[in-house]
Amino acid sequence: MSVVVEFERVISVVGSFPVLTGLDLRVDQGEILHVRGENGAGKTSLLRACAGLLSVSSGNASVLGFDMRVDRRAPRRYIGLLGHENNLYRDLGVSEHIEFRAASVGARASDTAAALEQVGFPQQLWTVPIGSLSAGQRRKVAIASLLVGRPRLWLLDEPHAALDTESRKNLDGILTEASTSGATIIFVSHESPATKDIASRVVTMDGGRIMEDSGAD
């Protein structure tokens, strides 16, 4: 198994506030890592540091083999990030939006239909402007936008938010399938009962570092 994320004593600062305070984490290919912790524990910052959106002030950090202290943009094309926000253009139609996202990560726009079908998005709504969709439907479009890019590393912040029970199960299935195909998934969630079945490992964060690791020797 190759190492996908390797953080050693990583410190990251936002403004003058340290959000990661000497974080150590190693995630191997194919793992589904569930990150949990109180509000402000540094979970979102961990995802952003993995995506290269948060710079590493000190320590060693590599993602997909790229040294994040040298070039934090380099691994981004292989990463799918879904944050609290859905990253959607409200005025575009659903399929237009996904086609744009596909093209913007160098994926095939022709995979749009397959991605929408996979997330269970009703075909009659594919041309509807995103702004007129419900919160759950928008979340599905956001997940389909990631899916179409076939990321090697998925970084998901509360991916189940706004989804109904059936859609949550469907998302878990998508993530499990992606992991089986070799992708690595790191997701932040407060909903342990809903996600315990798919996570291969659970870490608990507090104060910007890992406090508990179910995979620790």
Partner: protein, 218 residues
């Protein structure tokens, strides 16, 4: 580049902000000046070029603002950062979309000054060259300064504050070139139009070099 431009124009076509709100507002500015200076026809004629570019500046600033509001809305800026689109393509794509939108705005305002300010065109070539050069300068400056203010909470008020001093030379050069093209003042209209091309070229070079850094740190 065309991918980003097409997306921006598609968003704009759906939202209809440029045609439905910005253009009527800019046209209204021209009308207000026409009524305000109605008694002084010669002043209106002499000021036609300047008032035209003032209306373009106002409308253009709103369009630039809108171009980055779309990106900051719902975290789209992060998605752009994560995309595989090269930063020069992103910069040029957004500038191209703005160029098209500001051109449409100018096509509406142009007949406006001819009708409302009682002026005629004596040099169409200069008029078109000046309009293209000014629009280019507006577009590239707008994207460069727009991305700079995009991540800030006070961007709605900060962007015009940053943009107006930068675009002041374009406003001046555009006004002078238009005065010559409209036959209001004999002068070096082509030199002023050339100056706007130079300003556009300098800001394009700056944007190609700095846009990635500004987007990243914004």
């Amino acid at each position: 580049m065309f991918l980003v431009a097409r997306k921006d124009l598609r968003v704009e076509r759906r939202a209809k902000i440029a045609l439905g709100q910005v253009a009527p507002l800019a046209l209204l500015i021209l009308m207000v000046f026409a009524f305000a200076l109605d008694a002084n026809t010669s002043l209106l004629e002499r000021g036609a070029g300047g008032l035209y570019w003032l209306a373009v500046l106002y409308g253009g600033t709103l369009l630039i603002q809108r171009s980055f509001d779309v990106e900051t809305d719902d975290g789209n800026m992060d998605a752009l950062r994560m995309s595989a689109i090269g930063m020069p393509s992103l910069f040029l794509g957004k500038a191209l979309a703005l160029f098209v939108q500001i051109t449409v705005l100018e096509l509406i305002l142009g007949p406006g000054i001819l009708l409302l300010y009682n002026v005629g065109v004596v040099d169409w070539a200069l008029l078109f060259a000046a309009a293209i050069a000014g629009t280019l300068a507006f577009s590239v400056c707008g994207v460069l300064w727009g991305v700079m203010s995009a991540g800030l909470r006070v961007r709605a008020t900060l962007l015009p504050l940053l943009l107006v001093p930068v675009l002041a030379p374009v406003l001046l050069a555009g006004s002078r070139a238009f005065e010559t093209a409209l036959g209001v003042r004999a002068g070096a209209g082509w030199t002023w139009a050339g100056l706007m091309f130079v300003i556009a070229a300098v800001h394009t070079a700056l944007g190609l070099g700095a846009f990635g850094f500004l987007l990243e740190e914004g």
